[in-house]
Symmetry: C2
Subunit: 375 residues, 2 copies
């Protein structure tokens, strides 16, 4: 039982599954890549039981076989090989023999039947979503997801389909409790998303990486089952286990009576925050904004190193006010907003502030809510 | 007391001294950069007491002053500033005020008089050495220096001037006890180098970095005093404290009766070693070479993952033999050899092997000695 594969193509496939294989070291087989060959096709599968990645490669074989080999070691070996054809042969005791040019490797494996099976699906169950739209929505929300894993329902992105009038809309929301980002776009129907799903942050990061690496695919197929969400990107498949839990009631958190509205240039606000934040204190990491007629001053103070302040033009006509924020949270939100100018909506220094692009867009909404800090 | 400096130029200077400042955290002032301005010149100095770097910048000032500021914090602040002119003003209590565009920073400092003084020198004491020659000799030896600091005399490069016939020659040698690299070149006289100096590895790495960053300088000025070696690279100065100790008698270690001589292509030998070494055992990390008429086989074995072997063409006419090596040591040596073919000279599997470029060069010698491994 053997097959032939081009080194470059094999390396590309092995690279795609590296990040999920071997993340959990409790079960040795999870550090492996499952190789299944048949009919001139090779399927590579890696999984950490939360995210699975399957990649299909074109090879030359008239045989059928399976092997399970350490994903890391196989990648290390293949990476060093010359750009030529690799011959792989299954041997006894789950070993493989790999030959390329004058190099011969005998590599130990495990029984491929022990490799965890992918949850089942059929290809007609997928609903198409434009890749660019999916990437954009992830980009605009994932930074706000909690990265600690204690609150699993916040450690991901909530994704739901809504009907607004007779328009289908897709919403993505993420929050770590200190900030929240919500994006809503006109979009296609995805069966099973009416009640919403929570996708874990790590899985979404893998999905984003796969979409970026397979740059050419216009559409991603999405299929939602009770336990998993399946994404089909060309010949790649990403399967993400859904987070079991209720996403918090976020719509009631969105402030509606923030009457102080300040318009600032997105890039200049970002640049000022970057500069001034070099002087925040290590414990508090806050900056203070002083806003008065057509002007904002940003100030920070560090007891060891000193202080920083910067003036910024702003479009504002109300009473002067001041409020403290973690500059990182403001910068993260500004970084992913589309327009040149953003509107900051504030109620008082103890209530959540809101950031949004200035110009309304009927097909797309994006808001970012950030809790203030006492400084 | 104030001065004006362009952001780009200031950042470049601060960047050059980052790696020595703050390496030792026992004395707070060592994490600082000393700034001294006078007569349209600004000197920036950083030191860890073993290596000091001084950089001279052009600025605008008619005043004279000094300040000592956290090197890291100042770098972080300046990095974020727009590409404009920075004004710096000395304030009370060793603070400075830094202004650039609409940004104002007040930064705490320490008394600049506490900053350790650079050892003294006069500019007429420097002997010129071609930069390219110095860089090349460092490149060919530094990889073999010990990186643990327990044996200080091996934790550096030994540098000595010799007279061979009526030719002045400069030798550099480094060894970590398992391997040794020696390079010798025809070169200029450097006063004070007749008995040899040991320069610590970290200091040499800084020197190499400085020479690389100041790409344009053809010559480096070298001045050797009893405690320090001074290097003048354009407007930069690197001062390295000499290692106090005797470098081992290396000339008697060089084998002269290694009668098995194998010629191999440098790149193909390197490539084979890279591939086969992916399968070395984690504890031993050795590869075995089997040499017979016009052929070399490289073999490695890892008890968890399997084995690898590769055939290589070689020019050899003697009896078959085998010997084990750490492939990393062979690869390090091959990496810095100049010619397309190298000669490996072996006595037996318990005696040091020798690697050298095949073709003799009257003006330059380079040999690498590597202890074998029992595998």
């Amino acid at each position: 039982m053997h097959f032939e594969v081009e080194k470059k193509e094999f390396l590309r496939g092995l690279n795609l599954i590296q990040s999920v294989s071997g993340r959990k070291t409790t079960l040795p087989i999870l550090s492996h890549v499952l190789m299944e060959w048949e009919n001139n096709r090779l399927c590579l599968t890696g999984t950490d039981l939360e995210t699975a990645i399957r990649e299909e490669l074109e090879i030359r074989t008239s045989e059928t076989g399976k092997a399970s080999i350490s994903a890391k070691k196989l990648y290390e070996v293949v990476r060093e090989l010359p750009e030529r054809t690799i011959q792989i042969e299954k041997k006894e005791n789950h070993w493989i023999k790999l030959q390329c040019g004058k190099s011969i490797f005998n590599i130990a494996g495990l029984d491929p039947e022990e490799f965890p099976a992918l949850p089942s699906y059929t290809s007609d169950q997928f609903n198409p979503i434009p890749t660019r739209m999916l990437l954009d929505m992830i980009e605009k929300t994932i930074y706000a997801a909690a990265s600690d894993e204690t609150r699993r329902y916040l450690n991901g992105i909530f994704w739901i389909q809504k009907e607004v009038g007779n328009q289908k809309r897709i919403q993505m929301v993420a929050s770590d409790g200190h900030r929240l980002s919500l994006v809503e776009k006109e979009g296609p129907t995805v069966t099973g998303m009416e009640k919403g799903v929570i996708l874990p942050r790590k899985g979404v990061l893998e999905l984003r990486r796969m979409m970026a690496e397979k740059g050419g695919e216009e559409k991603v197929g999405v299929f939602i089952d009770p336990l998993y969400v399946f994404f089909e990107i060309g010949k790649s498949l990403v399967v993400i286990r859904r987070v079991d839990g209720e996403f918090p009631e976020y719509e009631q958190v969105i402030p509606s009576d923030n009457d102080k509205k300040v318009i600032v240039g997105r890039e200049s606000f970002y640049g000022s925050l970057r500069r001034v934040s070099t002087m925040t204190s290590e414990r508090l990491e806050g900056v203070k904004l002083f806003v008065e007629k057509d002007r904002m001053e940003i100030f920070s103070y560090n007891q060891d190193f000193g202080d920083a302040k910067e003036d910024l033009e702003a479009n504002y006509g109300g009473n002067p006010f001041e409020i403290g924020f973690n500059p990182r949270y403001l910068m993260d939100a500004l970084m992913v907003m589309d327009q040149d100018e953003v509107m900051m909506e504030i109620k008082d220094d103890g209530s959540p502030g809101l950031l949004r692009p200035v110009l309304p867009d009927e097909k797309s909404t994006h808001i970012s809510i950030i809790m203030p800090m006492k400084i």
